[in-house]
């Protein structure tokens, strides 16, 4: 189990669920052909990576960041603007991803050094403020970022639906399939890298700092350095997820790359999946994205029926736009009654 950094998921239920999710994702283009299903699978991969990198901060280091989506957006905008400006080439993708990653990591370093010196709680507030400012900037600097409209761009032909490769088990294999596998394999590789990080001595120190910062410091570990480094690693992971997502969507804009609702989604995924275990991010992301894409529509139908029954308030509350409220409620319940999340529940029943 070296590839899992000797941190195999404990508990047979957890293993079964994980194997099912990963197999489904690995074979998604063939198991679930169709544009929507594959889009859902792609989003699960990206959200899993995004949530896993967030969990490095939230679950392992015990600090709450509100700028995680900002780093995601930097990766997205890096790739998006590079492809928009330089035309569709692999060079542009690499250059853009590197720029987004570099900028994100640098900013994470600055934020960390600035705000983690005092108290982890400072960090939460500073990241909230800075993420808000970056969001506003991205909308305002429309000559560069395309403003609210964002930018649509071309990607290399190999990744486009028009690039036909023939058929496999009755399903047409095209550039879109290749793009999906690009996302899937990069996400998987980065996930394993994160798993390696949290199981390294560095990861252990992070957990020690989370449990008792004073004691960790007394043992000679510099809390600021460790926390800041965790912030940088987490930012890099988020930026990579953003870059992949931009390539997949062929579009980058505030709604898909910087919106604060993505930040809430990530928070919910990590908490529902289970903080402090990266597998929670995968299961949480799968659970969440599927619920968002299929359950939300169902609730919307309930809202319409409530409207027909002349229950306006119920119709309002069940309206698809109020999805966030239900997330908030589930989130609160999860924090109180299932702090170990789905992973904890699956393990406990063993």
């Amino acid at each position: 189990m070296n590839i899992l950094s000797h941190d195999a998921p404990r508990g047979w239920r957890l293993r079964v669920v994980l194997v099912a999710v990963v197999t489904a994702l690995a074979l998604a283009p063939f198991l679930f052909p169709g544009a929507k299903a594959i889009g859902v699978a792609e989003k699960i991969c990206v959200m899993a990576l995004l949530a896993a990198s967030y969990d490095l901060l939230l679950g392992y280091a015990g600090i709450v960041s509100f700028a995680h989506v900002m780093f995601f957006g930097m990766g997205s905008y890096g790739v998006g603007l590079a492809l928009y400006g330089l035309g569709p080439s692999w060079g542009a993708i690499v250059l853009g991803a590197a720029a987004g990653l570099g900028l994100g990591t640098l900013l994470a370093l600055i934020i960390g050094l600035l705000s983690l010196r005092v108290q982890a709680i400072f960090f939460s507030m500073v990241t909230l403020a800075i993420a808000y400012a970056v969001n506003v900037l991205a909308s305002q600097l429309s000559s560069i970022t395309g403003g609210e409209d964002g930018r649509s761009f071309q990607i290399p032909d190999v990744l486009k639906p028009g690039f036909k490769l023939g058929e496999f088990v009755g399903v047409a294999v095209n550039g879109r399939t290749l793009a999906y596998y690009l996302v899937f394999f990069v996400c998987a590789a980065l996930f394993l890298a994160l798993l390696r990080i949290v199981n390294s001595p560095f990861g252990r120190v992070l957990q020690a700092i989370r449990e008792n910062p004073f004691r960790a410091e007394a043992l000679g570990y510099q809390t600021v350095v460790h926390r800041t480094l965790a912030t940088c690693l987490s930012a890099a992971g988020a930026a990579a997820a953003g870059a992949l997502n931009a390539v997949w969507l062929r579009y980058v804009g505030p709604d898909t790359a910087l919106s604060s609702s993505i930040q809430i989604d990530v928070l919910v995924i990590v908490v529902i999946g289970g903080m402090g275990t990266l597998y929670g991010a995968v299961i949480g992301a799968a659970f969440f994205v599927i619920a968002e894409n299929y359950l939300q529509a169902l609730i919307g139908k309930l809202s319409v029926s409530a409207g027909e029954l002349a229950l306006p308030l119920l119709a309002q509350v069940l309206h698809p736009d109020r999805w966030l409220m239900w997330l908030g409620l589930v989130f609160i319940l999860a924090v109180y009654f299932a702090p170990t999340g789905i992973v904890g529940q699956l393990r406990a029943k063993d």
């Binding site: 600035l114 709680i121 507030m125 509350v317 109020r322 908030g328 609160i332």
Partner: protein
């Protein structure tokens, strides 16, 4: 806690003056760039008034943190909630607000503010009992749970009042401006400044000059000791949290009259501003919060006039500079 606290005769705390003078320094620094004196004075007065409104909102948050060690990410939702309550009260009273009688104008305005504060305090009570009580002493859990609470409140506001902004205007007597020669000051801003100042002085007096304030401060220092002396500290703390929520609601009401509209998303925007203020001021410090509110509002006003492009990030820049100079803010509470 620290060695200094146990000395026989408590030495009087040394007051550092430089942080308190930062707003003045900024004003003096900017003055030559603005050019005309009247413009500068107008900007400064407007900034002071805005600062007082921000202070009203921010002091609630800093109070709850300083006294109860609770950082409430739901504060923004309270602000928006208070603004809606003020609107609900102000709309039926439009007749009073439009009349020529100054007394009726005042009555409509004060009723709206009082209702906003009172109902927000009730919401704060429920919020504290249901969400915060199980999370005392655990920062991570507090942050998560208050975020969850704020999402639910904000979405309920959307569900109840719809996403479109609701227009609201101050009573007739407070529209228009006072002019002193070339210098102009909107009447409403003058009024908001008064309200903010009253709240600041009131807070200082209650905390430093009453038995209630003494008990609260003692409870912060050593909770068990105060309980052993027979005081119900948990009730005291609920009161502090309700006061914090009331201040948020009051500030939200003041702000919405000033902006002329109410919408649910205002909470999230103002929460960012309020966070910047209490980071600059030093978490938990009422005095620092006061200075920081003025500083932030002045900088925002000057930047809006001199370099509108920069205005969006001027607050963040101010925060970064202050943190580089004093990593814990202008007036940090000792011991935390």
């Amino acid at each position: 806690m620290s060695a200094a606290d146990t000395g026989a005769a408590l030495p009087r705390a040394k007051i550092e003056w430089l942080p308190a003078l930062t707003p003045l320094l900024v004003a003096l620094l900017v003055a030559p760039f603005v050019g005309s004196f009247s413009t500068f004075a107008t900007l400064t007065l407007a900034g002071l008034a805005m600062g007082m409104m921000i202070f009203t909102m921010a002091s609630g948050l800093t109070l709850a943190f300083g006294l109860m060690d609770v950082l409430n990410f739901g504060h923004g939702a309270f602000i928006a909630f208070g603004a809606y309550i003020a609107t609900l009260v102000a709309l039926p009273l439009t007749g009073w607000a439009q009349s020529d009688s100054l007394a009726l104008n005042f009555a409509a305005f004060l009723l709206a503010l009082a209702a906003a504060a009172a109902v927000s305090a009730v919401l704060g009570y429920a919020f504290e009992r249901v969400l915060i009580v199980p999370a005392y002493g655990q920062h991570l859990k507090q942050i998560l749970i208050t975020i969850g609470g704020s999402i639910v409140i904000e979405q309920l506001l959307y569900a109840l009042f719809g996403p479109a902004p609701i227009p609201i205007s101050p009573p007739a007597a407070f529209r228009g401006s006072f002019t002193f020669g070339e210098i102009a000051l909107e009447k409403y801003r003058a009024l908001a400044m008064m309200v903010g100042l009253i709240i600041f002085v009131g807070q200082l007096l209650v905390l430093n000059r009453t038995k209630l304030g003494l008990l609260i401060r003692a409870g912060v220092e050593n909770r068990e000791m105060v309980e052993a002396l027979g005081y119900r500290i948990d009730r005291l703390f609920i009161g502090v949290f309700m006061a914090s929520a009331a201040l948020a609601g009051l500030g939200g009401a003041l702000w919405s009259f000033y902006r002329g509209q109410v919408q649910a998303s205002m909470g999230a925007e103002l929460l960012v501003l309020v966070f910047i203020v209490i980071i600059i001021g030093g978490l938990g410090s009422v005095g620092g919060c006061f200075i920081a509110s003025i500083l932030v509002a002045l900088i925002a006003n000057y930047a809006g006039f001199l370099a509108p492009k920069l205005a969006l990030v001027s607050n963040i820049l101010a925060m970064v500079l202050v943190l580089l100079w004093r990593p814990r803010g202008l007036y940090p509470l000792s011991g935390r």
